[in-house]
Each structure stands twice: as C-alpha cells, then as structure tokens.
C-alpha cells in the first residue's frame, strides 16, 4: 500500500469500502463460497480435526527448536547445490535479490504468488533497478496490470469483475476481449507462456521447507509455480523463517489440511517439492537455486505475545469468516496481510504502532480461531495487543482517558453508583424510543453507527435488595 493511501485513517478507508456497492457484493459472494467449500471439505474428512491438532503440535515443536531446524535446512540446501542467504530485514532480502539480478544480468523475472515478496514490496524495488517483474498467478497478474494490491491472501483479485478485467486486458495488452473468464484466462495463458520462456529469473515464496531433506515446497493451482521453478535459469525462493518444518512425515500432515482450509480441495492441483537446482542428467531446471531466509521482525515475537502467529500457514480461512473482513475487504486494512491474522502479522512486522486502529477491527467473535487449520488463538492475541497498545500509550489520549475513568469507576462501588446516578440524569436528552442515540462530543462517533441501552431506572443491586426483603 502506498504511503498516500496509508495516510488515510483506517476508519475512512473502512468507510469507503462500506460505500462501495460492488465490493460489498463481491466480498459476500467470495467469502460465502469459500466458507461453504471449506466446511464441506472437513465434513467429509473425519481425520481432519486430529490432523489439525497434530499440525499445531508440529508448529510449536518446530518453533522450540527453530535454530536447529534452520541450520539443518541450510546445510541440506547447500549439499544439494543451492545457496542460502540470511536476511534479518526486508531491506536486506530485497538487496540480496537486486544484487543477484545485477551480477547475473537479469532483465525479467517471473513470479509465482508469494506473500513474502509482497511483504518486502519486491516488485517496486525490481522496477526501480530496471528489472521487469511479471506476476504470473492470474489474480496477481490482473492486479499488477491494474497497479493495485491483493485484496485476499489466496484470491488477490476478488474485488474485480470480469468486465473490469476485460477492459483492463483490452487496454494493457491491445485487442478487444470478451468479458468471459474462459476467454480472459486463455489470453493470460498465451501472454504469460512467452514470459516464462523468456525470463532469466523465477521468484517464488515457499509454503514449507523440509529441513531434513532440504526441500522447498510450493502449493499452487495454476501451475505457474512449476513454470517459474523450471524454465528460467535462476530460481530464487523468499521464505519467512517460520515456514521450516522438520520432516516429510510432517509435510503430509500440513498438505492434508492446507488446501481443504483454503479452497476446500483435497489437494491443490500442484504440490511441487524442489530439492536443489537441476541435478546431473536432467534436461531441465534452473542452474542456480537461492533460498532467502527472512526474519523481518519475526524473531522478536519468538518470546513475544504474538508467538502463535508464527504458526500461520497463510491459507486465508480466517479472512473468509471474519465479520469485519467480510464487510471491508483486504484493501481497507492497508497492509500486506489483511484479515484477523493480518492484524497480528502487521503488528509483528511493522510494530504495534501501525495497528492502533486495526487492533480494534475485530468483534472477537472467535470464528477465526475455529477455522484456523492450526488453531491459532487470534482473539486472545488481539486482546493482548489492545492491552499493549493502551499500556504503551500508543492509543489516542482521549480513548485512554475514558477507559482510565471507566476502570476507576468499575473498581469502586461508591463511584460506580455515583456514576450510574449521574448517567441516569445526564442521558435523558439522548434517549429516544428506549435507546441511547446521538451522544454528544467524544461519544458521538460511537453512537453514529450503533445505539446503546440506557442506564436502567433502578440498578441490579437496588432490585436485589428488594428481593431479599422478606
């Protein structure tokens, strides 16, 4: 997201999303469909629940030995002829790729969908360095042509209609294309096939990396991940360090639940296990393989309140069920990772200051935790994040003052009673049809979109006392 967009405060971004009728419709259709597909997939899979527990246990146990697993992964990648780079920050990860491009005369890089490269805003950096990045996942390709950002982790262009895509293709690629997904997909196939064959470098993320075998694992449906890792002479994979898993046995557990959670498929069309560059005797495959292991704020949370967010598989299931995401969509969040998990990941990568509004963009209903394949307790961490934001004085002073007063009143019975008495009198001008509406000043924003029950004429303790009387 550009700085200009981020300077718009979150409430305004959310508000304009709410006023976008087309976006509202697209979001409802997409998230409802994903919810249904996921539900069906797990309903027909009795082993699913136990596998989710196992997957969670693998993530935790891997995190407890993260340094060992990363060392083993690096050793095995190198043994197979690959190169491993260690990037403490996103800047460093970008610089490593730019240096590779420079040293090897790379002019065009084809990319398969990768949240990690979105996280480090790689495309902008490549363009500035004179390297043409081409997104090859159809959804990513569309939004790249439109100069936009993904609005959903696994369906980046759900906010666009086929009519908009047809206009976009007609304008950018030259020609007149019918607003038919079949036609538009064929156009993209032809256009991108040429790019796969011409590109010097293929850039991917990694869904997993198996430490014991040195295997980088990519899960895709379109086959672009296979193209990108097979045709260009250099393959670069950018991976958040928490994606390492110990063994092939572990990998099978994750594969069994990942696609089911994301799209309701038993497996995605392609699961690609890459061990090293082209091996002797092979006619195809890249000459060079580079794995960039990226920290970028993750280490800070190993012992932090957001530790569990390091389990995330990036399946997108929590986005679909979130009542807030379903209303505002991905762009309104303003950062790379949207949705409930996105708030936590943004706090992890960009610091808690960046989510002082977003931390409240959740009803804490718990639907995200219910569908998370590794049962990440997102609501708990959101509450801790809110507490942290308050304690560190990141929240606006007025909000902190109101909550400070509320805490005092709640902690003291006499103050509480006094407050209730004052409230009973003060609320009179604002009660209409038995509800509190249109509060003044600071509280006006609260009642702009919702009303409140008024303070009751008699308090619970008063009524209790009457009941106690014989």
């Amino acid at each position: 997201m550009s700085d200009a967009q981020l300077r718009t405060p979150f409430p305004e971004r959310a508000h304009s999303a709410l006023n976008d009728a087309h976006l509202q419709e697209a979001l409802t259709i997409a998230t409802t469909k994903f919810i249904g597909l996921r539900k069906e997939a797990f309903a027909g899979y009795p082993d699913g629940e136990a596998l989710r527990d196992r997957a969670r246990a693998i993530k935790e146990s891997t995190l407890q030995g993260l340094d060992t697993h990363l060392e083993r992964l690096a050793d095995n990648i190198e043994r197979l002829g690959g190169h491993v780079h260690w990037a403490a920050t996103g800047d460093e990860a970008r610089d490593i790729i730019l240096r590779l491009c420079r040293d090897r005369g790379v002019r065009m890089a084809v990319k398969s969908k990768s949240m990690a490269t979105e996280e480090i805003e790689l495309n902008e950096a490549l363009e500035a360095a004179g390297v043409k990045p081409v997104e090859t996942d159809l959804g990513e390709y569309i939004i790249q042509l439109a100069h936009e950002k993904p609005s959903h982790i696994i369906a980046p262009a759900i906010h666009k209609t086929k009519g908009q895509v047809a206009d976009l293709f007609s304008k950018e690629l030259g020609g007149r294309f019918e607003a038919d997904p079949e036609v538009l997909t064929a156009v993209a196939r032809k256009e991108l096939r040429q790019k796969f064959l011409e590109a010097d470098m293929g850039i991917t993320g990694a869904n997993f990396a198996v430490a014991e075998t040195g295997t980088i694992v990519l899960v895709t449906n379109e086959g672009n991940g296979r193209m990108v890792t097979s045709l260009p002479r250099i393959h670069v994979a950018v991976m958040g360090m928490e994606k390492v898993i110990p063994t092939m046995t572990d990998l099978m557990v994750f594969l069994a639940i990942l696609a089911r959670s994301a799209t309701g498929q038993k497996l995605s069309s392609y699961t690609t296990l890459v061990r090293g560059p082209r091996q002797p005797g092979e006619v195809e495959g890249p000459e060079e393989l580079h794995l960039i292991l990226m920290d970028n704020g993750r280490t800070r949370q190993i012992a932090g309140t957001l530790r569990e967010a390091l389990y995330c598989l990036r399946c997108g299931a929590c986005l679909n069920v979130c009542p807030v995401y379903r209303q505002i969509g991905g762009h309104a969040y303003g950062y790379t990772y949207p949705g409930p998990i996105g708030i936590l990941l943004t706090a992890m990568l960009k610091g808690t200051g960046s989510v002082k509004d977003l931390a409240h963009a959740s009803s804490l209903c718990g639907a995200c935790k219910d569908v998370c394949p590794v049962r990440i307790d997102i609501p708990r961490m959101l509450i801790e994040l809110r507490e942290h934001i308050d304690r560190e004085r990141v929240a606006p002073w007025a909000e902190r003052m109101v909550f400070g007063l509320a805490r005092r009143a709640m902690a003291s019975p006499s103050l509480f009673r006094l407050g209730a008495k004052i409230g009973r009198v003060a609320q009179v001008p604002f009660v209409r049809d038995g509800r509190l509406r249109g509060l003044p000043l600071l509280f006006g924003k609260w009642t702009r979109t919702r009303d409140l029950p008024p303070v009751a004429a008699r308090s619970f303790s008063e009524r209790w006392k009457e009941l106690e009387r014989p």
Binding site: E71, V165, Y270, G281
Partner: protein
Amino acid sequence: MTTRAEFLGSIKREMAKTRGLFDARPVPRPPHAGEAFEAVKRQMAERWPQALERFREEFERIAGVFHRVGSMDEVPGVIRRIAEERQARSVLSWHPAPLGLDLRESLGREGFAVTVAPHGAPDVAARQLHRDEAARAEIGVTGVNWALAETGTLVLVSGQGRPRSTSLLPATHVAVFDRSCLLESLEQVGIVLEALHADPARSMSGAVINFITGPSRTADIELTLTRGVHGPKEVHAIFVEGR
C-alpha cells in the same frame, strides 16, 4: 550483510527467554523408514484393486479422464484416440527407458510428430532443443511414480529421461501407470518419501517431485472455475493391468 551465525544467534537469544513452555511433541514417524516402506508395498500388493477404484473415483471428481487397458501394447491406441479427438499432431514423451514404451515406433509411424526426451547427460544444445520441442508439443506422455488413491493424485519424480515439463507445457497430459504405483493415503506417501531420503541407493536423481491433482485450474476471475490456465487443460491416466 547478516551472517548465518548472527541470524541464528538472535533466534537463540529470543528462544532462551521462552523456557518453561509446554513440551510439544513432534509427530511420530516410522523409526525404520525402509521397513515401513516394505510394509506399505506388502499391503498394497493385496489392496491395490480397492485403491485403484478409489483413485478412479477421486481422479474423475477432479476432472481427470481415466482409461484402463490390458497391456502396454494397447497404450499407443489410447493416445492416438486422444490426439485425434483434439486434432493434435505433436506428441512429446518421456524417454522409452523410464516410460517402458517407445511411441516413435507406433504413433511415429502413423504420421504423428513424436519426440522423446533425451537420456544421458544432455549438453546445452540438447537442452535448448528439448525446451523448444516441449513448448511446441500438444500432448505430453509421462510415466508415474505413485498414484495416490485418497486424492486422485499422480506423483511424478523428475530425473534422467523424465523431464518435469512433459506434464506441464503441453495442453494435454497423458500419464501411464500400473498397479505397483498405487498408494492409499498421504501418510503412505510420507513413508515412501522418508524411505527414499533415508536410503541414498533408492534416492531419485531428479530435483523435483510433483504431486499433480487434476488439470491446471484457476478461479481468480469472479470465482469462475477455469481449466488450463498455465499447465494442462486435461489430464488423462491410463492404467495398464498387465506388467
């Protein structure tokens, strides 16, 4: 530039602050991968007919086209029909050594443009030639390492004479397999992969293992399912009964 030692050092420092966490157990894995692999093979020698049925069911559910023939001799006939129906003339196949079939001798003599992947250590020119042929081919014919019943998945390991793009670049992929390929579950696949890793003699030479579950697909435009976005539009699996 962050070094490996610095990177891992900062992780260790943070990990030291987390002592007292509950003890998470990793997933139990087969203690002797080789033995577990042999056990899977024995199970499947008996249970392959059920696995084949399940494979067919799942494969068709994801839009795969299933064929069954008595022997290897009948395979070219099936491929010919597939090609004719699609008005395709160019066929690229894995090398006859790993495939167990030389299509040049059958389809090649019937007017189809058949090319086979090189075997041995290909030089730069051979690699470029193969790439051009793969990019042009309309039908790609491969073998299969394992066919996974639970999900209708074909598992292909790349290697000498077994290029990874034969199942990717042509618009139609035809895979030939027999009963020895059949596995029931992802768990069994895990055992097989563990065993391959544990025993270098069994290990495959190639760099890539692909799990192929149906044709290439996308739903990125208005969630409309569309096939053949980058990879094949169609996947056919030919089961050969006899050895």
